[in-house]
């Protein structure tokens, strides 16, 4: 790892001001992604601002739902009675991620901010528009145009099938975020210009022409907490994660389903998919189709067809075009207890 400065802060205000003071400064939470990226020289920081002592780890019930502090550990949230009772989908998604050790370290804010696991992004000797949006040219300091995307036409088995661009086809690797986008969460952030709220679906972005930007957080902004509105999904929630081994692996495809059932009918429903896009992928049109309909296999199949509208494979990941709809149908059956 390169040499860097280290500062410990104890208030959100100090954290925000420390970050806005100089370039090359990063918040350090659990470190499970940032330290890894520094070791690989994907990130070369000047200073780390340690935010582990910020009082932002509470998990509490509010008048409108649940509030989860940005510094709450993934394991603490997953095992918390409030989460298990009011947002079981979130508990399931968290427990499907990483390992027990990593979940003890990883925080809610860090999980949202984790970078893609695209192998080209992780290897500074490889072309990658996300890591190096412009390549240094032979003339020092003169950019030589975009560095290119190694995964397009390359190794792309883990990559996206929705919302890609010709600059980047990476996926956001988080499990937790699939549950949060499905549950219509809101992100509370604090920055140099004050506080604001970001709907979870608007937090992450599609790559477009700027794949170096994973999300809409502005420079210097600190994630404070996440709010999950009260819902009626507790009895019929399911998180299905399909991966190369039974545990401790990133998703090939994951599906988050939360249903409000009245007898056999779907009153209300939330659907989201992981492993398919640059952001947690909400399936709004499939939700719309299923609302008010009986929970039958025929309806699930039709919803899956609607959900796959616009999907596109890149070679090695073509199997996702079949695995994704099948996983969705499976997860719907489990959540509605019609398996």
């Amino acid at each position: 790892m390169n040499q860097f400065q280290y500062t410990r802060v104890t208030t959100p205000k100090a954290a925000v001001s420390a970050l806005s003071q100089e370039n090359g400064t990063y918040f350090l939470a659990g470190g499970t992604n940032l330290i890894d990226l520094i070791k690989r020289e994907v990130v070369v920081p000047e200073r780390l601002v340690d935010i582990n002592k910020l009082p932002l780890a509470t998990i509490e019930k509010t008048s409108t739902g649940l509030r989860i502090g940005a510094m709450a550990k993934n394991s603490a949230v997953a095992d918390h009675d409030l989460a298990k009772k009011h947002a079981p989908l979130l508990s399931m998604a968290l427990n499907a991620g990483a390992s027990a050790q990593l979940r003890n370290m990883a925080t809610v804010g860090g999980n949202m901010m984790q970078r893609t696991r695209c192998p080209y992004f992780y290897d500074p000797s490889m072309p990658c528009n996300k890591r190096s949006p412009v390549q240094a040219g032979p003339d020092k300091g003169q950019p030589n145009g975009p560095s290119g995307c190694g995964a397009i036409g390359g190794i792309n088995r883990m990559h996206a099938i929705f919302g890609t661009s010709n600059k980047c086809i990476a996926v956001h690797p988080s499990d937790m975020c699939i549950a949060l986008v499905a549950l219509d969460a809101t992100v509370n952030v604090s920055g140099p210009k004050g506080d604001r709220k970001i709907p979870f679906g608007d937090f992450h972005r599609l790559p477009g022409d700027a794949p170096q930007k994973d999300n809409t957080l502005l420079p210097g902004e600190l994630i404070m907490s996440v709010d999950i509105p009260t819902n009626k999904f507790a009895d019929n929630s399911h998180y299905l994660k399909v991966r190369d081994r039974a545990s401790y692996a990133f998703a090939l495809i994951s599906v988050g389903v939360a249903v409000d059932m009245k007898r056999d009918t779907i009153q209300d429903i939330r659907l989201a998919m992981g492993g398919v896009a640059h952001k947690p992928w909400r399936l709004t049109e499939a939700e719309h189709f299923l609302r008010g309909k009986p929970a039958t296999e025929a309806n699930f199949k039709q919803a899956a067809t609607i959900a796959m509208n616009g999907a596109k494979g890149y070679g090695e990941n073509d199997f996702k075009l079949t695995l994704a709809p099948n996983s969705l149908i499976d997860a719907l059956k489990t959540a509605t207890k019609t398996a």
Binding site: M1, Q5, R8, G31, T32, D36, I38
Partner: protein, 211 residues
């Protein structure tokens, strides 16, 4: 506590005094630089980088019941601190990237990967390594169970497996073999001793001894 705590090295606040420190100190000799070359480096902003090479920060941490007052570079991981500086080599380095669990230790009772834990973040914490769990004369029940059930071959992953296994039971995640397999998935064993590891953990759990 100060709202904005700038940790200082033994030469005073890093930000303001580094330049002076470099200009005056015998560090120049160590760097084999002539004062002229050093001044040029300073003017080019390289002083920041050079000074950082000397930068040590204070760290107080309880390791296996002993309070340690240390001086470390901020970039040092807990794993490297344990192994390289404190010579507690029971904790192993497998992948160094959070992917194998060989480096598992307890920080304030929670199992974590020491390779991705920056040592500075353990200020004021209690760290327990395999050396703090049991001794040759007085082995921890989990260590005894690993021997009884042949829970290893080469033994490289074993300290991490045992630290993880103890935490797994303490967390309440060892109620059946399936649950043990899921909650022990963060510990990879290249020798494939998994079946015996699960047996060892279930034996300790069912034996009901306090771990």
């Amino acid at each position: 506590m100060a709202e904005y705590e700038h940790l200082e090295d033994e030469f005073g606040n890093a930000d303001s005094s580094r330049r002076n420190f470099l200009k005056q100190s015998s560090a120049l000799a160590a760097l084999a630089l002539t004062p002229v070359a050093a001044s040029a480096a300073i003017d080019n902003g390289l002083d920041e980088k050079m000074a950082a090479a000397f930068e040590q920060m204070p760290l107080q941490v309880d390791i296996n019941g002993t309070m340690r007052k240390l001086s470390i570079e901020p970039r040092v991981t807990l794993l490297d601190l344990l192994r390289e500086q404190l010579h507690l080599t029971g904790t192993k380095k497998g992948c160094d990237h959070g992917q194998c669990g060989a480096c598992t230790v307890h920080v304030d009772g929670q199992r974590v990967n020491a390779c991705l834990t920056l040592a500075m973040t353990t200020e004021g914490c209690k760290v327990t390594t395999i050396e703090g769990l049991g001794t040759l004369d007085q082995m921890h029940p989990m260590q005894e169970a690993f021997i009884k059930h042949d829970g290893f071959q080469c033994g490289y992953c074993t300290p991490g497996q045992i630290m993880s296994a103890v935490a797994c039971i303490r967390e309440g995640h060892a109620n059946n073999p399936d649950e043990v397999r899921e909650y022990m998935s963060g510990n990879i064993c290249r020798c494939g001793a998994y079946a015996n590891i699960v047996d060892a953990i279930m034996d300790v759990k069912q034996g009901g001894v306090r771990v």
